[in-house]
Symmetry: C3
Subunit: 448 residues, 3 copies
């Protein structure tokens, strides 16, 4: 039986070659394969439907696309790379001069080996992408350009799976499934999401309900919000967009939610400051990024952040054929799964607690939570293990004093420099002793 | 026909010699000359009227004032400088010894050439001002001191002109007209205000109603507030006291309003941080300054700041005869008019905008506001000029995401480092596209 | 007649030898002696009474305790130091081997001369304390251990005295009276509290009612809060726990209240920043300290801070026999009384004032509060002393502008760098002139 890493590697290899776009068979094939890992329900919305300011486009079907020179020699063909044709390109079948051809060719001059990824969803165009080296090798000639594509009434697909928890309040985990053969910028998100689902399914209990959503980027999240936006406004506690989660030796990086009080903003800020020095934070910005631009648009302003590792726009392979499995590494995806699972666990732990005996300190020695002897050195055997565990005692005292429904666990933990997860044992023991209740998710009043 | 600079210079020369005080003919002559530049309505309030804790003083009339020695030689005479007599001095006609005379003489020892400006409005006194050199030249002699002055029932005058705008909310621009022959500390404010009026009159449209007010300092603003204070509390959006606006090579400097949310506080802070590095800011303080001490008294707490350039108390000529046109320069006044006009234009632009399609991003390419092609290099002609104007696109995305009635334009602009005025084009295009509404002047809720 | 220092010294010598614990005769003897200095009413609460999560323990009576070797030679005896027996020790009368004895002996290895102070209030145990040197001198022998102690139904005592003021709002000053012969960690607090009482009794007027409370630490404050906690929640304006107030060359140090808006937090912060550079501040923490842990528990969250000088845990003599009068010094206690009295005086002065003529500046020269002449130099005699007192004038102007019920006196004073106490004269003069009212204790609205 394969281990998790091998399973992720296998899933990657099955998904990579598919010819995805924002609509069509590639999306559906991708979702069907993912259903083997996560019980997705696939939904569809017909071409022509209005979703807010947008209209669902026709499905784009691409059957064949190539360029041949006057001798019939093939210059490029999408059978070699599905990046070779401009995504959503119009059909064409003509003989053109080199000069005219060049008006329809896209390259990346400073990356002579790379085929760029180019799209023109909403403007009618035809075009090809190739490496700069291929372009430089073209001679003055007549070229046959051939694209057998079609735009037809169809649907836009997205899919979701819900993992219920004790509370109806939800945590949304979402990624996109609309780019052709790219690794970090396309497949890292869905693969991490699918395996994160499997981890969460195994948890003994879940406080929150977890909703996993896969859709094409931008138009897909807008279509999803048109149907589920109101539900999310009512029920969403926290959420994350997953994108570009590969990259060897790259640290996990959190893009803050536009909504300042988003639970992940405070949680990650705490972890960065006190626990996990290698995690990074980025400000929210609508200027670039992924679907958080939609989820955090002012009409929704949902408490969603975004996690990334080898961030879009900041590595050579971004949006071109150099975005490969080798550069991404499956190991980095597994590390992302590990780290995101821990963050989600801490999010379950975080919140507002109540001291159930808030008038003075409880008599902690009754509960074996305090030393029963006050002495500088103990020669005999102490009846109480706490005396050797000052950290635990400190946490107990801190929790009891600040568990007032106003200070969150991160607020409390920030007063000392213990990692957040170390509070779990103290919280559990205080709850067993009947001294603590929580976590609750909403602050009662202001710190003052 | 004279240009603006020449007109300002001419106005200066007409106003400089007048013998102004807080009441009387000098004030009225000054206002009558200003009426040629701005349609002021002059109002009056009788001596003896109670205005809050104060009483309008009698008018002071000064006809003659000089000192002669025992040989009849004239030592000083106000025909040479209207600073030679203590403002509001009692009449006197006596022969006095040098010792007695010295009890009534004011000089500035560390500025031997300067005649100080001395006032005693509310305490009966007689006195003369002269240079330290003149004092040092006095010999032991009998001196004839002569002041032909009179305090009589009359009025205190102030004047105003209103330039209507689309909104009834007002912007107040005020200066004082009560000092005798001083340039920077007296005439810079009224001249800048008058020419600012002429600029604003020419604007194609004005969002706000602009109110220009001229009054004597302190007692004048208190008298004005006694009549118009309630009107201002209801209608004032923003305002500025103009004083000491000359000074070659001096930067414009803003004294913040006591009221922290005063629109100019945020606007100027933004400009200083991001746009106009040579502008300065000063904290509010009631310890010194001009009529903002009254406008910002706690009973009114109006959103008024103060603009200055060569600041009172911080240049040698302050309150003495060295405060001349040469030190002030008419060019600095013109620069003040230019800069204040720009600030007022930005104040019209600033405020809270609303994204009219706030659910997800609008489909910007429909409005020619977004590139219709996503490609690393464009060899052909783009149908869309935006692709070469990343700044414009960034502004569009920022405005749409943060135009929520909570973030002001300065809040939004502070997220990038473009000058505020550069947003005008993006705002106009978004409004044309039906995507943006505003500016509104009041924040809806808190950033959170 | 003795001066204050001599009286304090005498009181110290009377209290030091008493055998105090959290209950019993030692506590009562201590309170009876203190009654000669402060009219304490002594209250009692029976053993077995439930106070919140705690139960009042039985009284511990200790009559005799010693160790003898097999030759009958006395090794230690509590007649030499009342630290030699573990506080609340069970009775014992046995012959034990050296090995067994060592299981019941406490020392401080790194302080070979010191006898530690050890308690075991809530766990049954017997034990002795001695210096490491004494321990090292023990030879292999049979030892007679003898403790004649008894736990019997009795009471827990605490005591209080109230000094009435104009307002029913209270200031609480509290210390503990439960440690045997230690100087800084036991007697410094009660002695300073008693002499502070005498100072406050002599004040011409008191705005607040002052409540002085003495109780055993922890169980005592919890018992006190069980009876008076609701009263304090309703009436307490401010309060301080006094502990460890000795220490030559040590600065006074304030541990902030958990309640951020506690008046002492702002007052001491102001003093540290602007007036009293040698005073220190410590954050609130429930991890260690004294009865502020109870007063600031979340069910009460009272506005109480704590004052200390040679802070618990931070000096060699802490909780052992090196905590002597010589290390503490009576002089340091007197200095604490001086400094705390000044802080209490400033607390009476601090608060929110109202300008009674808030529309514009009042005509200050009418009240002899403003120069009646504006001149660079005065050769004659000014009728007004203010002209030579710019500090006073600045304070007057600041107070009038910011006395709006929103800015506290410390907020106002923070705008300049005059010591807080210097405002007293300006405030008094403004009140005499009918221009100012206050101080009030509650803020009206927010600074904005």
């Amino acid at each position: 039986m394969m281990n998790e890493l091998q399973q992720m590697d296998q899933l990657f290899d099955r998904l990579f070659p598919l010819f995805r776009s924002i609509t069509g068979e590639g999306v559906r094939q991708t979702l069907h394969i993912l259903q083997e890992y996560i019980p997705l329900e696939i939904e569809e919305i017909p071409s022509g439907t209005t979703v807010f300011d947008w209209t669902i486009p026709k499905e784009w079907v691409i059957r064949e696309a190539w360029i041949k020179d006057s001798s019939g020699r093939e210059i490029i063909n999408i059978t070699n790379s599905n990046l070779h044709v401009v995504n959503y390109s119009e059909p064409i079948d003509r003989i053109v001069s080199l000069d005219e051809l060049k008006q329809h060719l896209f390259t990346i001059p400073h990356l002579p080996d790379a085929i760029p990824y180019v799209i023109s969803y909403y403007k009618e165009r035809w075009g090809f992408c190739m490496s700069q080296q291929q372009l430089d090798a073209l001679v003055d000639d007549q070229y046959h350009v051939y694209i057998d594509s079609e735009k037809m009434d169809g649907v836009l697909n997205y899919a979701q799976a819900v993992l219920p928890g004790k509370s109806k309040r939800e945590v949304l985990i979402t990624s996109y499934i609309c780019h052709p053969s790219m690794a970090n910028n396309e497949l890292s998100g869905p693969i991490v999401a699918a395996f994160l689902y499997q981890r969460l399914k195994k948890w003994e209990q879940r406080e929150f309900t977890y909703r996993f959503v896969f859709h094409p980027e931008t138009i897909g999240s807008i279509a999803y919000l048109a149907k589920y936006g109101e539900h999310l406004k009512e029920n969403l506690y926290s959420g994350m967009v997953l994108t570009c989660l590969g990259g060897k030796d790259k640290s996990l990086s959190y893009k803050m939610s536009r909504k300042k009080q988003a639970p992940l903003n405070a949680l990650v800020e705490y972890m960065v400051k006190y626990g996990k020095s290698d995690m990074g934070m980025r400000s929210f910005s609508p200027l670039n990024g992924s679907d958080e631009r939609q989820y955090c648009s002012p009409g929704f302003n949902l408490p969603m952040g975004q996690f990334s590792r080898m961030v879009y726009g900041q590595y050579p392979g971004y949006h071109n054929s150099l975005d490969t499995k080798e550069e991404m590494t499956i190991e980095a995806l597994l590390q992302s799964v590990d780290e995101l699972e821990e963050i989600l666990q801490l999010q379950e732990l975080n919140g507002f607690y109540y001291n159930l005996k808030p008038f003075g300190e409880p008599q902690l020695s009754k509960y074996d939570l305090y030393p029963d002897l006050n002495a500088p050195t103990i020669r005999g055997k102490s009846s109480n293990t706490l005396i050797d565990n000052r950290q635990h005692l400190n946490q107990v005292l801190m929790l009891l004093n600040y568990a007032d429904g106003i200070h969150s666990l991160t607020d409390i933990a920030a007063k000392m420099n213990y990692p957040l997860k170390d509070y779990k044992m103290s919280i559990d023991r205080l709850k067993e002793a009947g001294l603590l209740d929580g976590p609750f998710r909403d602050q009662q009043g202001e710190i003052g």
